[in-house]
């Protein structure tokens, strides 16, 4: 067992009983802290640095070629605990995008209701295409309920392009062409 050391409490000296030296010390402390620079962040103009992997507003991202990554598998919709995500799956128009026709599916509508989202990050975790990311946006506000539902266009606006190097669907296409599909 650790040995406890009982500290003797010294009786207060006369100077200490008058409080005055202590008050002077206190005044010095507060004065010196007055000369220091404030720690306030002037919020709307100055923003805090957001660490990587921060779970902010969920967004949809595009691959480095600027193509939509989501294949509307609806896993995120399924996993989302508060059911904030609503996806209307759609097909990729083979005429318009022959390059990407083999991906077959893309979301027609993709809504995330930010009044429901609890920022849990499960959608990001479950997404097989790394298409949905919770990024650094932390202050979200709106004047109406409708405004708080992020539609597909808004989601891509917020998400931008992430520099990942997988190019999964390009590789898939190349493998198909060389006869080595799997």
């Amino acid at each position: 067992m650790a040995k406890t050391k009982v500290l003797e409490r010294k009786p207060l000296s006369f100077a200490e009983k008058t409080f005055l030296p202590q008050i002077v010390t206190g005044l010095k402390t507060t004065f010196s802290s007055m000369l220091q620079k404030g720690v306030t962040l002037q919020y709307p103009e100055e923003r805090p640095t957001i660490p990587d992997n921060y779970r902010g507003v969920p967004t949809l991202v595009k691959d480095p070629n600027g193509r939509e990554k989501c294949v509307s598998c609806q896993l995120c919709e399924f996993v989302c605990p508060p059911k904030a995500i609503r996806i209307t799956p759609g097909a990729i128009d083979a005429e318009a995008e022959p390059e990407r026709a083999h991906v077959e599916k893309a979301p027609q509508e993709f809504d995330i209701n930010m009044l429901r989202c609890i920022y849990c990050g499960l959608c990001q975790e479950v997404c097989p295409e790394e298409a949905i990311f919770l990024q650094d946006i932390f202050s979200l506000s709106g004047y109406s309920r409708e405004e708080m539902i992020n539609n597909k266009q808004k989601l891509y606006e917020l998400g931008g392009t992430l520099p990942d190097k997988h190019f999964k669907w390009d590789k898939k296409k190349a493998a198909e062409a060389t006869g080595n599909a799997h």
Partner: protein
């Protein structure tokens, strides 16, 4: 024209009084700003820095500077108090409830009548105080009237008809009584010294008593060499502690003490009535600072042993007022500085400090000074 000349002596005092009240109220609102700013600096914050008036706030550099220092904030504060919804709780005693803030503010504004704030040299070359009413024993008026302010607090506490304000009011009255005594006793030695043992008049004849009687002006003039605080530090300390208690400032703000009494005596007050209480508190602080400067810090005397470098003209008067104000500002700053340094005393500690320490010390100080003066008088003559 004749009528104007005849009525001038009646009109001018009113004009002076209105001028002084406006300056004083301006000071009050800016002390509120000072409190907010200094507290934020001490706590590493920025404080009010967003309010900007149109036009003047948009001047190139000055506008930004003024906005950053929050100089427009008092306007916004005042307007906020004016335009807020006025809520009167159903359970209050209406008449007294409305009366209380006025009773709290009026004494503080009244006392400034006898507060000299500078000096001028009149046509005969005699130094005269700049003051609304140059009365002998102005200090007595100040002591008498300023402690009436506690009635505002008590009335507020009582008429609010709820527990916490009532406790605050009771505490305030008890505290005032305890510290008023020590305050008065701490003052006496100062006046005894400034009014005695006498002076040599122009003819070189020794005259007993003071040239200026016991007026505050006389106290300042008697400090041309050493300021009172230098050779009466104990009186100064006692007076300062009592002053903190009288103005209800931390560490003695028993009547408000947010932590145990919600808001103290003004818990049930809102909007402009609360604003009046707020202004009253700062009016008391300014008055207290002014009195402390007059009594202990040499008033408008420049430095110890270097009394009056100000000239005789108008510029000299302005300089003396400015120097006096500078000292008052320092004292106001000191009040604020103290508030954000010390924690609040417990109520019983406040009481025992007042009765068991301050009062005996003040009595001892008085007796000691009386003996010294008596010895000095008998030995030097």
């Amino acid at each position: 024209m004749e009528f104007l000349d005849a009525s001038l002596p009646y009109i001018m005092p009113i004009v002076y009084a209105i001028l002084m009240i406006s300056v004083f109220m301006g000071l009050c609102s800016y002390s509120v700003l000072a409190e907010r700013k200094v507290s934020s600096w001490i706590q590493g914050r920025v404080g009010p820095n967003r309010t900007r008036l149109p036009l003047i706030g948009h001047l190139p550099i000055v506008g930004n500077l003024m906005t950053g220092l929050g100089l427009f904030q008092p306007v916004a504060d005042g307007l906020k108090f004016l335009f807020k919804e006025e809520i009167v709780p159903g359970h209050v005693n209406k008449g007294y409830y409305y009366l209380a803030p006025v009773v709290a503010l009026a004494p503080a504004l009244t006392t400034m009548v006898v507060l000299p704030f500078g000096r001028y040299v009149d046509a005969e070359g005699i130094i005269q105080p700049l003051v609304l009413a140059n009365v002998d024993l102005g200090m007595l008026i100040i002591l008498g009237i300023s402690s009436l302010g506690v009635y505002g607090v008590v009335l507020a506490g009582w008429s609010s008809n709820s527990k916490y304000p009532f406790l605050g009011g009771v505490r305030a009255s008890a505290q005032m009584i305890s510290y008023e005594l020590a305050m008065g006793l701490a003052l006496l030695p100062v006046f005894m010294w400034s009014a005695s043992p006498g002076y040599y008049n122009e003819a070189g004849i020794f005259v007993e008593g003071s040239r200026y009687g016991m007026s505050l002006f006389g106290v300042v003039q008697s400090q041309q060499a050493a300021w009172t605080i230098l050779w009466q530090p104990l009186s100064a300390l006692l007076f300062l502690v009592a002053l903190f208690a009288e103005t209800n400032r931390l560490p003695f703000d028993m009547a408000e003490s947010e932590t145990d009494l919600v808001g103290g005596f003004h818990t049930e007050y809102g909007c402009f009535k609360f604003g009046l209480f707020f202004v009253a508190e700062y009016a008391h602080i300014i008055m207290g600072s002014g009195i402390f400067v007059l009594l202990f810090l040499g008033g408008w005397n420049f430095l110890p042993w270097m009394a009056d470098p100000w000239g005789t003209g108008i510029l000299g008067s302005v300089l003396s007022v400015a120097w006096f104000m500078a000292k008052v500002f320092f004292m106001i700053f000191f009040f604020i500085w103290m508030r954000w340094t010390l924690p609040r005393f417990r109520y019983d500690q406040v009481m025992s400090l007042g009765w068991k320490v301050l009062l005996p010390l003040a009595v001892a100080n008085l007796v000691f000074n009386t003996i010294i003066i008596a010895l000095y008088d008998t030995l030097t003559r």
